[in-house]
Subunit: 176 residues, 2 copies
C-alpha cells in the first residue's frame, strides 16, 4: 500500500493524555501514516490535560467524512468526555463503523463508543473507571492491553499505546 | 436541630470543579453545617481541575462511617472519575443510601452513583456527557436543575449549586 494513502483521523478536544497522544502520533507517523487532527471546530488549539502538549486541529468533525480515512483514533484522557457530546463526532464514528473502517479508542476513549451506541455485544477494554459503563452499555469488558473486536480496537491506558497502534495498523492492513 | 449535629461529608479527590466546590462549601457552612472532607487517603491535599482551589481532606474513606453524617455530597468535575474506582468510597455511598442518609451528587458526581449501583429505577440528573451512562445503568435521566428521588439528590452543573445545596438541606430536615 502506498504511504500517501494511509490517512488516519485523530479525534481531539482539550484534556487528552499528553504523553499518550505524543506516543501514538509518533508510532503512526513512523509507520508512514498521515494524521488528520479532527476537533469540534477546525484550526483549534487543543491542550493536553497535563499542559505538556498542545496540537492544532486541521478539520472540523462536521466536514470530516469517514471515507477519507483508513482508520479513526480516539485518544484517552478527559477529551473523550467532551467529544461524546458532539453529534458530528458521533456521526463520524458511527459512519466509520458502518463502512468497516477501523475505529480505535484508548483509555477513556471508549466513552465515545458508548455515546455512538457502538458497544453492545462487543468485547471492549478501557480505563477501569468506565468499565461499568461499558458493561451497562451491553459490552463485554475485559482487562487486556488491547482488544480488536471486528475492527473496533480498544486499549486500557498510555502504557498500551504501542500494542494499540500496532493492532490498528494490522487491522488497516487486513481491511485492504 | 443543633448546628453541631449537622455534619456533612464531602467526597474528594483531585480534579473537582473549583468554583462549584467553593460555592457548595460556603452554602453548607452558612447553613450551620460542619463539613468533613473525605478522600481516599486522610490529610491529603486535593487540587481542583482549574488550579484555583486546593483543600486538605480530614478523613480517609475507609475510616468514615455513614452514621457519622447527616448527608454525603459528591462534587462535580473529574474527581468523580477517580472516586468511583475506590471501594471504600462506594461502600460509604451504598451504606448511606441503605440507612436513608441523603446522598447528593452534582455534575459528574452521579458517575459514583453508577459505580455504587444506586441508579437503577431512580430519576437522576447530571452533566449531559454522562446522561447516556445514567440511562444505561437503568436510571431515568431528566434535564432539570435538581432532582431529589427518595434522598438521592442530583444536579447538572455548577450553576445549579444553590438549588442542589437547598435540596440536600431540605431533605436532611425532612429525615430528622
Amino acid at each position: 500500500m502506498a504511504a500517501a494513502e494511509l490517512r488516519i483521523a485523530v479525534l481531539l478536544d482539550d484534556g487528552f493524555e499528553d504523553d499518550e497522544l505524543r506516543t501514538l502520533m509518533e508510532l503512526f507517523e513512523s509507520a508512514g501514516a498521515r494524521l488528520t487532527l479532527v476537533s469540534p471546530v477546525a484550526k483549534r488549539a487543543c491542550k493536553g490535560r497535563h499542559g505538556r502538549l498542545t496540537v492544532t486541529s486541521e478539520l472540523a468533525a462536521s466536514t470530516a467524512r469517514a471515507e477519507m480515512f483508513a482508520a479513526i483514533v480516539i485518544p484517552g484522557g478527559y477529551a473523550a468526555d467532551k467529544l461524546r457530546m458532539r453529534h458530528a463526532m458521533l456521526d463520524l464514528v458511527r459512519d466509520s463503523i458502518n463502512r468497516g473502517i477501523p475505529v480505535g479508542a484508548i483509555g477513556h476513549g471508549p466513552q465515545v463508543l458508548i455515546s455512538a451506541a457502538a458497544v453492545a455485544g462487543r468485547t471492549v477494554t478501557c480505563w477501569p473507571s468506565i468499565a461499568i459503563d461499558i458493561k451497562n452499555a451491553g459490552g463485554l469488558y475485559v482487562d487486556r492491553p488491547v482488544v480488536d473486536d471486528g475492527g473496533i480496537i480498544t486499549a486500557r491506558k498510555a502504557d498500551d499505546a504501542r500494542a494499540f497502534a500496532e493492532a490498528i495498523l494490522r487491522r488497516i492492513g487486513d481491511s485492504r
